[in-house]
Symmetry: C2
Subunit: 346 residues, 2 copies
């Protein structure tokens, strides 16, 4: 039996997430008859190689979407807003990593392990959540299923990969400058990030929360289908390369049981439990680069909440936080028969 | 008029906190006729110089306390337990930085700006709180006075100075090894700290919280005089040199007012407010090394608590978290006339 093959486009192919999208399509053997690499004019002509795959970057433009079945957007919100409809118009399903469509009623916001069923209602665009939100959900969802999530407090420890390849370069450069005894230059962040913490991710909104902090609340509500969920998040950039971590205190409707909580997290397809005080085992960001699952540890009854649990969760920002979730959406669209290839292989 | 001069001893004088104790005594012109440097036998004979001060380290032993008016202990809990009573027996007041006496009913646990009155009840030993606790209190106390603290959630971002000079050296060495392309050696921490996060500070206790996390609750209750206070803390070591940061969600008895909260924090002697979204201003650890006050920012109404505030606080672990608070206790003992010098200057 021949497998249907799809023509897939990647907008923002030269970025940190774009590169991971290419790698994951190859690694996970996505049935692609074409991977079309799209980026800004200044990247056009650049070659991207990964294992057997070789491709040349083309300029992103409406005509560049012709013939594609799926287009994954991982550029700016502005690019998504302008060009996603052009891709849809040409018959492609868009999987968008930007924030512009996430809260649209017409656009499913999907973490496949949680609300894959929402994919059936897509009207051409499917949104992939904010990176911190996707990772937080990997811990909150299995606990929600077990005890009914009511409210949570999250403090994030976010890696520089969240600012793209430039963020990672800036941390590396600052650390090298420190060792060389030179002054530390800032280009990506408003403040030094090496040996420092920046308690701001994304821009400030009314009420004093940042956009990133509010995403956790509003996107979380939509993904979990809990319009009354309460949350308060503080997002902090830390000098870590590419895995995000979070400290979460969560309150539930029903009494919590520690064994049941641990089992729920261990059995959930998106998370694994690393939690052994005796061997000082817990998830840490250096061990979660290029991991499909998010790691949960430090699971304990919360000492300040009636039906509460405190835990620590870590996940690869570039993978579950972005590229992997987008690829998983593409895979789910295929598995659920929600996409048909324009040209089938014979 | 002649000022009374005191003979002061420092146990653990060669450690990171010990060095800051010497510097702060000199910097703050503490009325000391003698600063006696005490440490382990292997440090005996070592010279410590700071500005006009020069001293030679002696071995810590009961007889070394003879003639001293104040002894500040900043070594291990074991040393404090064994030798603090010896110093008291010889007529000195002990200010102890270790955790061994902090929860004793006979020992005041003091942050002078908060509960200096408790000093009057000392029976020879005064305890200085855990570093994260002291810093958290600088934000929580003024807000407690304004609105009545009921409960809080804290996630810490703790600097390596909390593990002493060795912790700082380990981070520096690991960063240098990374830049040199060498493998990263671990001596102080069970896991790599450069480019990583370790969600464990101090040892694990029953219930899954660490000792450090429980200190925030139990020491906080004692300092604030709130036996029913609830708190849930997650303590995390981050690759930052010497200022601790915390993300706190606090719930109060009375309705909160943002302007009043900010004013309370700005007017309190122990804290300052750095909080301007427009200029991306908030406290950050690199700017809080060698600062007397703790910095509070990101102050906002908490979106998940009825009468709640979320905020971010940063303070120098070696100063307000340890050495400075101990010196402030010594200063308060003098100001309040709770100590008399064995030999007055004439």
């Amino acid at each position: 039996m021949e497998t249907t093959q799809y023509k897939i486009g990647i907008v923002g192919a030269t970025g940190a997430v774009g590169q991971e999208l290419v790698r994951l399509l190859v690694k996970r053997v996505f049935p692609a008859s074409e991977i079309r690499l799209l980026a800004s004019p200044r990247s056009a002509g650049k070659e991207i190689n990964y294992e057997d795959f070789t491709g040349t970057v083309q300029e992103t433009a409406p005509e560049a979407f012709e013939g594609l079945d799926i287009v994954i957007f991982s550029a700016s919100g502005g690019i998504s807003k302008e060009l996603a409809p052009e891709a849809v118009k040409r018959g492609a399903i868009v999987i968008d990593n930007s924030s512009v469509f996430r809260l649209d009623d017409d656009v499913p916001l999907v973490v496949p392990e949680i609300n894959g069923d929402a994919l059936a209602e897509h009207k051409g665009i499917v949104a992939s959540p904010n990176c911190s939100t996707s990772i937080a959900m990997m811990g909150l969802y299995p606990l929600h299923r077990a005890f009914g999530l009511k409210r949570f407090f999250a403090s994030t420890y976010q890696a520089v990969s969240g600012s793209g390849a430039e963020g990672m370069e800036e941390l590396e450069k600052q650390v090298r400058a420190h060792v060389a005894g030179e002054s530390l230059a800032k280009e990506v962040y408003p403040h030094q990030i090496a040996f420092n913490l920046i308690p701001q991710v994304d821009s400030f909104m009314d009420g004093g929360y940042t956009r990133e902090e509010l995403k956790m609340l509003y996107e979380g509500r939509k993904i979990l289908g809990l319009p009354d969920l309460k949350a308060s998040t503080t997002c902090v950039r830390v000098p870590v390369m590419r895995a995000h971590s979070m400290s979460i205190n969560a309150e539930f409707e029903r009494p919590v049981d520690l064994e049941k909580a641990t089992a729920a997290l261990a059995e959930f397809v998106g998370s694994e439990v690393i939690d052994d005080p005796e061997t000082q085992s817990y998830p840490m960001p250096i061990f979660y680069e290029e991991k499909v699952k998010c790691g949960v540890g430090r699971i304990r009854r919360d000492s300040a909440l009636e039906n509460g649990l405190a835990f620590w969760i870590v996940g690869d920002q570039l993978w579950k936080g972005a590229a992997l979730n987008a690829i998983q959406i593409a895979e789910a669209l295929v598995e659920r028969g929600l996409i048909s290839a324009k040209v089938d292989s014979v």
